[in-house]
Symmetry: C2
Subunit: 339 residues, 2 copies
């Protein structure tokens, strides 16, 4: 049995990136003629066929769903996974999960691996690397071949498919409004670089809530990290140097570490400073005080994504319409706010 050649093999053989190979095979203008010809010749020589199996299997269901998540450390993705799994299992589907580890290359490799006939469709949240690169050719290839795809949480307008998201902007807006109602004036935001679609939306909600309440936006009070990894030193420096009375954090680990650090300085929560964090994981529940959280309803999100996907998988319709479902965020009030 001959081994199937993949984008990854071509990239490795020719010493170029997977993204370059993908673009070259689509005849993209972005790639130089020489490189393009070399890649196309190589692909022809080795009989590269994008997902040829998937096509032949159009009517042979595997009853497997492929899920690609960016990260296995964050509780949110694991709750979405549970939601997908509960619904899918009840419908007789197995769920296979791969982790892109926030890397574009790994996302592509995982998709290729699963798109070889092992699954009926994909549910995924985009990796940081993919959002940073803004390259969605691997997704376009999959959808072009008729493999159903549902994006959740981290999505892009570049891809036409079903999507399910939380209203991140509103979640942030409501959190900041809560602070303002408590009389807070110096409201900080701890976030990540805005190539994360969710961070961009949350930052927009933060800014809008301040402006709507005639508070100035002070860029010094916005602490931006390159990734979702906690940078303990960065957090400690921020709270040593800035005077703030409220903090909205785009993830719970940033918030929890911040709370821990300000408490060590003798600052009282919520008397002196209050905290709200996305996305209501175990740390929010078990910290002291508990962290008031913007719940993202991961399990519901997963259930809806699975519903949308299975409907597409089982549909006989040729004509496709796509829906984006937007869930409402909820504020779970705990001891880190109110005074």
């Amino acid at each position: 049995m001959k081994r199937k050649i993949t984008l990854k093999h071509i990239a490795r053989e020719l010493g170029v990136s997977i993204s370059t190979v993908s673009k070259a095979l689509k005849n993209s203008e972005e790639i130089g003629r020489d490189t393009k010809e070399k890649i196309q010749a190589f692909a022809k020589l080795y009989n590269y066929k994008p997902n040829n199996i998937a096509i032949s299997l159009k009517n042979k269901r595997t009853k497997n769903i492929g899920v690609i998540i960016p990260d296995i450390v964050h509780h949110f993705f694991t709750t979405v996974f549970r939601g997908i799994e509960k619904y899918a299992n009840a419908k007789g589907y197995n769920v296979i999960v791969c982790v892109s580890d926030e890397s574009f290359d790994k996302e592509v490799i995982n998709m290729e691996l699963l798109a070889n006939g092992s699954i009926d469709g994909f549910i995924m949240a985009l990796s940081a690397g993919t959002q940073l690169k803004n390259d969605y050719n691997h997704l376009k290839e999959v959808t072009a071949q008729g493999i159903p795809l549902v994006l959740f949480d981290r999505v892009t307008p570049e891809i036409k498919c079903d999507k399910v998201v939380i209203d991140d902007k509103k979640g942030a807006y409501n959190a900041v409004t809560t602070f303002i109602r408590e009389g807070r004036k110096k409201i900080a935001l701890i976030t990540t670089k805005d190539y994360f679609s969710v961070s961009r939306d949350r930052a927009a909600g933060y800014r809008e809530a301040l402006l709507d309440n005639d508070l100035e936006i002070n860029e010094d009070l916005i602490l931006e990290f390159p990734s979702m990894e906690v940078d303990e030193k960065g957090i400690e420096e921020f709270f040593t140097n800035k005077k703030v009375d409220a903090v909205l954090s785009v993830n719970e680990i940033f918030a929890i570490h911040s709370m821990r650090f300000v408490q060590s300085l003798g600052i009282k929560i919520p008397e002196d400073i209050s905290f709200i964090g996305f996305t209501d994981g175990l740390l929010s529940k078990y910290s002291t005080p508990g962290l008031t959280a913007v719940a993202q309803h991961g399990e519901d999100m997963g259930k809806i994504a699975a519903e949308m996907l299975i409907e597409k998988v089982e549909s006989e319709e040729e004509e496709e319409t796509y829906t984006t479902k937007v869930l409402e965020p909820t504020l779970i009030v705990r001891g880190s706010t109110g005074n």
Copy 2:
């Protein structure tokens, strides 16, 4: 291109379990003659070949490593994954992770999916379902075909392969000895059913430490749950009805929920009761008080597993020898012990 038939397809078509199919194809005595003949005939008809691709690829490396972990909720497995990944990436390998979700069937499906030529070898921890079923045919198949396999943390003597484990018994023994040195007498154990190899070893360490210190083993003080999922009610009932002054827990979430509950009853930690939990995750660090923890050195474990696997993958030797590396547990002392 013809689709490869898998154990799963056969099982579904004939309405039997994957385990039955696997055993029937091995001509196992455990399966009735009728069923065996039916399965063997079906496999022959559809030309079932176990991992035929893997054999033909013996000398064609994919530079991918397949990792199968039981769970994505527990911090420990994610730290092992990070350790594997760091070492493997430095050596030019990609890591693909699948999650068995503690299910035997999913473990088999994931292995089949990855063993089709996508990876050079496996690193895995056994699912609860597999340990409960005590059925390792899917692993035997993979190793029989020369695909290198390293088991970590949850292992079995049934499979000849490289292994890396922590000395769980010693970890528990040292924890209980710490309690006894503090003068604790009524030492509880919160654990899971002993088909989890790690829980069995930890319970053995708990018992041995009590006996070595002339303390009686009181079975009433051993709280056993069917899975690693936290059962809040079960925990609350236990602490409402039993008088204990120290608690060893086989995972941090059992310990954290217990601490939370006893604090709500006005019981003081560590004055009235002290706590130690496996395996030093984020909750242990950020709870109040911090949870004294038996660290399992997940990242080291992952690094060693990746080292062992890559050595086997790249080795030209035909003769195989297998090693089991045993890591020493470390006690990370925090506020939940000492008085």
